[in-house]
Symmetry: C2
Subunit: 161 residues, 2 copies
């Protein structure tokens, strides 16, 4: 899998047709990007495609996809995540609860709620995520905050993968 | 099919679980709404579900679904539509061009561009549409504007259905 590490803005603004065709969970004129900078936070086997981002849209729509066994960063932030599972199944941690999720389910991540997505059902899992264009940066848990989460055996098992 | 005609705000704010399960192109705790008020504009066999709308989100994510033969209103507005086809196939008019569209294709509706979606492929067609929470009202074409669009035989055939 190839990932373009840098700005998708150029590709989006150069798009001429109003239609971007879908094929194999890729979209025309839409770069396959690294999820985050390597080493900036823990994550595994996850990519990002920015489907809609432009200055006259106040929301952004991104598509994240994890290979089987992949996971997003355990993090929290002030901004809300509005998620629709577009492909496959897996689980997510939202606050102190682990939830099974399947294609087309909706997930609301409230402000400052610890969350992580895991493709732990043996299939790729991809999801749309709408966020505010202007938003704060994610926060990683401290050792103490992680210990508090792991006090629940179900959460500990989820985080262990 | 039952459509609740009124405010979906109550249902959304009362949602307790972060997960809203999908089943048969309906979502838990999410009302099936009329597309628009009857008689306010031309449309046919189309419903609306507001998937994400809340005061701390600057975008809204809605799901519109047309039965076979259904269509949205031919209209334009200053705000952008960011669309992902979630179900089925059909066609859309964007400006002066008719495009075939299929599941997971993306459609960008630029400001003040005439547009209409039609489930004219014999199957239901449903699409996600992200918009700004604050946006202008749609405009309908004048008779003259409609004549200009219909001067293209392909557009005329599309609009005739």
């Amino acid at each position: 899998m190839r990932c373009a590490p840098t700005s998708e803005t150029k590709a989006l603004s150069e798009t001429k047709s109003p239609i971007r065709r879908f094929s194999g969970f890729r979209w025309e004129d839409t770069d396959l990007l690294a999820y985050k900078d390597e080493g900036s936070a823990p994550f595994k086997a996850i990519t990002r495609q920015t489907l809609f981002r432009r200055s006259d849209l106040h929301g952004e729509l991104r598509y994240f996809e994890m290979a089987p066994g992949g996971y997003s960063t355990l993090e929290r932030h002030e901004h809300v995540h509005a998620v629709l599972i577009l492909r496959g199944a897996g689980e997510c941690l939202v606050g102190g609860e682990v939830h099974k999720i399947s294609t087309n389910d909706l997930v609301t991540i409230e402000p400052m709620t610890w969350h992580q997505f895991r493709a732990n059902a043996g299939v790729p899992m991809g999801f749309l995520c709408m966020v505010n264009a202007e938003r704060d940066k994610p926060q990683l848990p401290s050792e103490e905050e992680r210990r508090v989460l792991e006090a629940d055996p179900k959460v500990a098992a989820f985080l262990k993968g």
